[in-house]
């Protein structure tokens, strides 16, 4: 077992980890990065479509291009890189945190670190998670795996495809598969409105005449060895109307039914998890409930835009760098989700600094009012043209905006 002493270990070399590690190096910290794949960039590498970087760079980049903007500097920044390496445990030692990782190249390595940045991303919800009935043939896979097979391995997962879920990943995959010669028979969405963006509905489905069944569910998968068909039914009062069930012959079912922050490592390290996001509870310093462990990116909460991941990761790294320098920590005000808000990140604000809040709505609404209050007193409101659960709301709060809240009172964020 190799032992290394270092200021910070960044777990994950995707968009969040890269931005955080670079920022920590800029602040003068020694940094080790552990990445499971043999390449840096994470899931961006298989996202060969464009649409990345509009906020961050004012340019329309593909996923690999966006990643490249961070990979090159990271490789030249003096970050200790452990690729094709998996962190198996985060514990405690005399220095602060111990991080154990395995890789073919170095065997077992144990870091003694003062800070750890969690940037492991998320995983896809699968068939079991959404309990689709029927048989279990080959040809049922998650959208991300299919995207990987097509864009990196160069394989065609199937010829006739039904996609479950109309989130952006599912829509982009529908177009991609059509372009490589597959027939996408349908996209089936349980909600009565599409989860993905209006732009993707137009450019990925309508442009290729792919049918979208809103308010429908796949009730059954058929086929013994390989998928032969799915049965689809409309929903009424939350239940499938079996009388109006229809059959779509296909050989492949792709599931794009949501993402879950991957926090098994965090949980095992004793990091408290926020049920609303399935990510760690974090304060205004992006520090989790476990001292010295920070989190950013999709491991914290699932983002819609990589640009926001980058922004969040940098902020996280800035606070981790301040923590490493031993800067005094500011007293914080807890933040909680109010009416119609599913989740909010971070879970505490620092009144003396600018704060950025990310929240998700529980409702679909035009002309919504975002409302900040404390102890029943309204502090601030903001008009939002449209809110829906699948679109993250970002809200900046300038320094001093919440200065006068009594200690012990929480800041509540609601959508009306």
């Amino acid at each position: 077992m190799i032992r290394r002493t270092i200021d910070a270990v960044v777990v994950g070399g995707g968009s969040a980890g890269l931005a955080a590690a670079l920022r920590l190096r800029e602040a003068g910290a020694t940094v080790a990065m552990v990445e499971r794949e043999p390449f840096l960039g994470g899931i961006l590498l298989q996202c060969i479509h464009s649409g990345f970087g509009l906020q961050e760079f004012g340019e329309d980049l593909t996923g690999p291009e966006y990643a490249e903007r961070f990979i090159r500097p990271a490789l030249n920044a003096g970050i200790e890189m452990y690729l094709d390496a998996t962190v198996t445990e985060i514990g405690e030692d005399a220095t602060g945190r111990s991080v154990t990782a395995l890789s073919r190249a170095v065997g077992v390595v144990r870091f003694s670190a003062r800070a750890v940045v969690l940037a492991m991303g998320c995983r896809e919800r699968n068939r079991g998670n959404v309990a689709i009935a029927g048989t279990r043939p080959a040809g049922v896979l998650t959208a991300g795996l299919a995207q990987r097979l097509v864009n990196i391995e160069g394989c065609v997962p199937g010829k006739n495809v039904v996609i479950v879920g109309s989130g952006d990943i599912g829509l982009i995959l529908a177009r991609r598969l059509t372009l490589v010669g597959c027939t996408v028979r349908a996209v089936v969405e349980i909600q009565s409105y599409p989860s993905g963006s209006v732009r993707n509905i137009a450019q990925c489905l309508n442009d290729y005449s792919i049918p979208l069944h809103l308010g429908h569910v796949v009730t059954r998968i058929e086929g013994r060895d390989r998928v032969e068909a799915v049965r689809v039914a409309p929903l009424q009062d939350g239940r499938p109307l079996t009388g109006r069930e229809f059959r779509i012959p296909c050989d492949t079912v792709l599931l794009s039914v949501g993402l879950i922050p991957e926090n098994e490592l965090s949980r095992a390290a004793g990091v408290p998890i926020n049920e609303g996001t399935a990510g760690p509870w974090v304060d205004a310093d992006m520090m989790t409930g476990a001292r010295g462990i920070f989190a950013c990116g999709n491991v914290l909460h699932v983002h819609d835009l990589v640009d926001f991941v980058t922004e969040e990761a940098r902020r996280c790294a800035d606070r981790a760098a301040a923590y490493l320098k031993g800067d005094p920590r500011e007293e914080m005000i807890p933040v909680k989700a109010g009416a119609n808000v599913r989740s909010i990140v971070p879970n505490a604000c620092a009144p003396g600094r600018r704060n950025v809040l990310y929240l998700r709505s529980l409702v679909v609404k035009n002309d919504a009012l975002l409302e900040l209050s404390a102890g029943g007193e309204k502090l601030r409101t903001k008009r939002l043209a449209h809110v829906q659960p699948s679109e993250m709301i970002r809200f900046g709060l300038e320094a001093g905006a919440i200065q006068n809240i009594n200690s012990g009172t929480a800041l509540e964020v609601a959508l009306r």
Partner: protein, 452 residues
């Protein structure tokens, strides 16, 4: 001796969907054959585990009663268990039951405790048996579907679907769901195997505190009821249901049974949640009228032993079934002499997840692939996957059952392509020939740029 298996790997039939319980011998009437074999089989598992190293733990079984009426059935189970010879079976009051299994609902009134019951990984058990058999001279033919048989010159001549031949003096019909068809193929007894479907649901390892023992309800007439099973690898299994049907290929799961299973299971263990489901499956129990095992010399065909109707507790009884078959073969005139060089033990498989980091160095020094994790959810290394492939398990399901890679919470979302690459590297197979569970279940259907 030759073992002929229709599927591309052993344990791919009834065994793979087994609940993985070593039963304790109180569920069946003392008059049944299965009760005797269950008790004998149960006792054999410690010795078998020592030889074969499959995952198995005697965690004990509890039966939870929720009313005075149900306690009467518990009394009956207790008496049955005592008469069968079940080891240390006891009736327990509410407090002792809750102390034995804190995950149970506070509404229990009492129940039964059978410490000799346990949990096992069924496919690992079957794979270990097959390896031990092969190491001792048994020829294993997988993907070998028997379609015809005739007797000539004091031997059975069996032909496969692919036209291969196999000749043997004696034949044991252990064909599970198709034991009836195989019996007919040999011109032996006519009987019908009725499949009884059981759906099961698996909860994540991280689910709210799995129970520590196998939890049974007080049984209904046709089955042992819906159980809450802490699997030997740390997940929780809920099920099985029991639906009799005619189709031997019907392994569908249904939304109705999902609801039923969760309703029953959460009455016993309130903290289980549908949110923790990672997968579901259905298995088919091969049942005969009367629900007992049929293990006998055929009276209609020469030199044939029938082993049919092996449903629950078939896995538990299997070591005793084997002994019985051996006795039948000898009574039928087959001379069996124990080999002088018989070595039942098989080499232990190393698993990265079983080692503390400081112990791993040695393993990694031998093969660095032990430090390369392929399946993050179950912590399975490249070395383990490669071992499975080199032992002939080249399908995704075979590798999954052998190593658990792909069996965890992401259900192969992250490791499928890695495993496909390893299979391609080790076997030279192109990716489009790699299957989930045999021909027809190819994982990808071509390459980008293929001409139609």
């Amino acid at each position: 001796m030759a073992l002929l298996e229709r599927c591309v790997d052993v344990s791919f039939g009834v065994s793979k969907a087994n609940s993985g319980i070593i039963h304790a011998g109180f569920h069946h009437s003392p008059s049944s054959l299965k009760a005797r074999l269950e008790i004998e089989g149960n006792r054999a598992f410690d010795g078998l585990q020592a030889e074969l190293g499959f995952p198995f733990r005697r965690v004990g079984i509890v039966v939870a009663a929720f009313s005075v009426e149900e306690m009467k059935t518990v009394d009956h189970l207790y008496e049955q268990g005592v008469e069968n010879g079940a080891r240390d079976v006891e009736i327990v009051g509410r407090d002792r039951l809750l102390a034995l299994e804190p995950a149970l609902s506070r509404d229990v009134v009492g129940g039964l405790f059978a410490p000799s019951g346990g949990i096992i990984e069924p496919y690992r058990f079957v794979f270990a048996l097959a390896e031990s058999a092969a190491a001792n001279g048994v020829f294993l033919f997988t993907g070998w579907e028997a379609v015809r048989a005739h007797r000539q010159n004091d031997a059975w001549h069996i032909t496969s679907a692919a036209g291969e031949d196999c000749a043997a003096r004696w034949v044991v019909n252990a064909a599970g769901l198709r034991a009836d068809a195989v019996s007919a193929m040999f011109g032996a007894e006519r009987f019908t195997i009725v499949p009884r479907k059981g759906e099961e649901f698996i909860l994540d390892k991280g689910s709210a505190g799995p129970p520590s023992r196998v939890i049974f309800p007080v049984p209904a007439r046709t089955s042992k009821g819906v159980l809450v099973i802490p699997t030997v690898e740390g997940t929780v299994m809920l099920g099985p249901t029991a639906d009799e049907g005619g189709d031997k290929d019907d392994t569908t799961t249904t939304p109705e049974n999902l609801e039923r299973v969760f309703r029953f299971a959460s009455q016993m263990v309130p903290r289980i949640s549908k949110r923790d489901i990672i997968t579901s499956f259905a298995g088919l129990r091969p049942t005969l009228p009367g629900d007992d095992f049929m293990i006998e010399l055929s009276r209609a065909a020469p030199c044939l032993v029938q082993v049919a109707g092996i449903q629950s507790p078939g896995l538990t009884a299997s070591p005793a079934i084997a002994e019985r078959v051996k006795a039948l073969l000898m009574s039928g005139g087959l001379e069996l002499v124990e080999k002088a060089d018989w070595q039942p033990g098989i080499p232990r498989m190393h698993r990265t997840r079983d080692h503390a980091p400081w112990e791993l160095d040695q393993l990694v020094a031998r093969d660095p692939a032990y430090a390369h994790l392929v399946c993050r959810c179950e912590g399975v290394s490249e070395a383990e996957v490669v071992e499975a492939i080199r032992k002939g398990h080249t399908t995704l399901d075979g590798i999954k059952y052998y190593t658990r890679a792909g069996m965890g919470r992401c259900q192969g979302g992250f490791c499928t392509y890695r495993i496909m690459r390893l299979v391609a590297r080790e076997t030279g197979m192109p990716l489009e020939r790699i299957t989930k569970h045999g021909p027809g279940s190819e994982l990808v259907l071509g390459h980008i740029g293929d001409r139609p």
